[in-house]
């Protein structure tokens, strides 16, 4: 589960880098459309991944009512 979480984090970082490209000196109108489509697809992926994620809750077997 945490691997999925990591991949969401990676995608969020990738999206931020894409957004930053639009403000950078590398920006060019010719490439902007492709970059925009890439950002849109990444945002959709992040949204669907985030919505689908579930937590894995486990109660540990160890008892704490006396010294182990």
């Amino acid at each position: 589960m945490s691997k999925e979480n990591k991949s969401i984090q990676d995608n969020i970082v990738a999206l931020s880098e894409l957004v930053a490209w639009f403000d950078s000196e590398d920006f060019s109108l010719e490439v902007a459309i492709d970059k925009f489509k890439e950002a849109e697809a990444l945002a959709e992926k992040i949204e669907s991944d985030l919505t689908a994620l579930k937590n894995d809750i486990q109660v540990v077997k160890q008892k704490f009512d006396s010294e182990a």
């Binding site: 589960m1 945490s2 999925e4 979480n5 990591k6 969401i8 984090q9 969020i12 999206l15 931020s16 957004v19 639009f22 403000d23 920006f27 109108l29 902007a32 925009f36 950002a39 849109e40 945002a43 992040i46 949204e47 985030l50 919505t51 689908a52 994620l53 579930k54 937590n55 894995d56 809750i57 486990q58 109660v59 540990v60 160890q62 704490f64 009512d65 010294e67 182990a68």
Partner: protein, 363 residues
């Protein structure tokens, strides 16, 4: 019936045996008097009320909350007759009784631990923005735990949450929570955060979180701690020693993980904000092209105007050089042989005439 004859030692032993059988453990409530600690190890005080007084003895490590003379306490103890014939209570645990004593004990311990720097802001560590592995110490049957789990699940996913089920009130609670803290701190793979939670309750219910050893264990945890105990108005020493304090278990969940709905909103906003940026760049570049074009047109007009002026001047010079213009000014044009007897043609502005040359002189 014949009296049993016993030695003093035997009598003391039999009495203690009887006491142990009859009162293996008793709780006695009273006011502390003549409190003292000998050799840093042995604690002595009297427990009294309006009708009587009894001596108490305990080891200093068993004293989990500070007490002082005048404080009302409940001791958990075994009655004992010493070898010197003195009757006393061997105390296993002591806890303040009543709101005043709880508050006093809280303030005393707070002052002591504060002086040691356990609550210092510069000790506090920050929690990871989005943790992947979290440990929770709580009673899994408590409402506070249920609130915490519900809010964490609503807000975010993908977390591995290991839960230690412990008592969160009563005399055993501090030790159980300490053991759970030790358990998580000794794992091969450490969690990124340890969350300790308990819902609201009376001051007595929450007093477990003012236990000195527990507060020290929280302050000494290798893993950053997040503590959410009671309601917003409740303050425990465990809260103060934690790296991050939450007002309630629900608030602990809010602090622990971001809200996925907010993350989604932020992601959408990031993408939406790109189009105006592109439009802005297009506008800027259009302006540059428009300005360059306007400059080129202006320069062309300027050059054309200069050429027109030059043409006008040349035309004016040409007009002045035209022979008709010279004739119009009254001059005449002479053609033919310029020698005596020669016939020449004379052209004026209005006529052309022929004439004979009568004389020729060198100028």
């Amino acid at each position: 019936m014949e009296n049993i004859r016993l030695s003093v030692s035997d009598f003391i032993a039999v009495t203690n045996q009887t006491l142990e059988y009859t009162y293996p453990s008793v709780e006695v409530e009273g006011e502390v008097a003549s409190f003292k600690v000998n050799q840093g190890k042995f604690v002595f005080f009297d427990l009294k009320d309006a009708g009587g007084s009894i001596g108490c003895f305990m080891m200093v490590f068993q004293l989990r909350v500070p007490i002082e003379d005048g404080m009302k306490v409940i001791v958990t103890a075994s009655p004992k007759l010493t070898q010197w014939g003195k009757f006393s209570l061997t105390v296993k645990a002591v806890r303040p009784s009543g709101e005043g004593a709880l508050k006093k004990s809280f303030e005393l311990l707070k002052e002591k631990l504060d002086k040691e720097g356990l609550f210092a802001e510069d000790r506090k560590r920050s929690l990871p923005g989005v943790p992947e592995h979290v440990a929770v110490i709580s009673s899994t049957q408590s409402a506070g735990y249920a609130d915490f789990v519900k809010i964490v699940n609503d807000r975010f996913g993908g977390l591995q949450i290991d839960v230690a089920h412990v008592q969160v009130q009563g005399a055993d609670a501090p030790d159980q929570i300490i053991r759970a803290l030790q358990y998580f701190n000794s794992r091969d793979v450490l969690p990124q955060v340890i969350v300790i939670i308990r819902g609201g309750g009376s001051a007595d219910d929450l007093s477990a979180f003012n236990d000195e050893q527990l507060v020290r264990a929280i302050a000494g945890s290798r893993v950053p701690t997040l503590v959410g105990v009671g309601h917003e108005i409740d303050e425990s020493l465990a809260d103060l020693a934690a790296d991050v304090r939450a007002a309630t278990p629900s608030n602990a969940a809010q602090i622990l993980v971001p809200d996925r709905a907010e993350v989604i909103r932020a992601v959408r906003y990031q993408v939406r904000s790109l189009l105006p940026r592109v439009e802005n760049v297009i506008d800027q570049q259009s302006n540059i092209v428009r300005t360059s074009l306007a400059g080129a047109i202006e320069k062309t007009i300027e050059k054309t105007s200069i050429l027109e002026d030059r043409l006008k001047n040349l035309r004016s010079v040409l007009i002045q050089l035209d022979p008709h213009t010279v004739l119009m000014r009254g001059y005449a044009l002479v053609r033919g042989l310029t020698e005596v007897g020669g016939i020449i043609e004379v052209e004026t502005n209005h006529v052309i005439m022929k004439a004979e040359v009568k004389d020729v002189k060198r100028k």
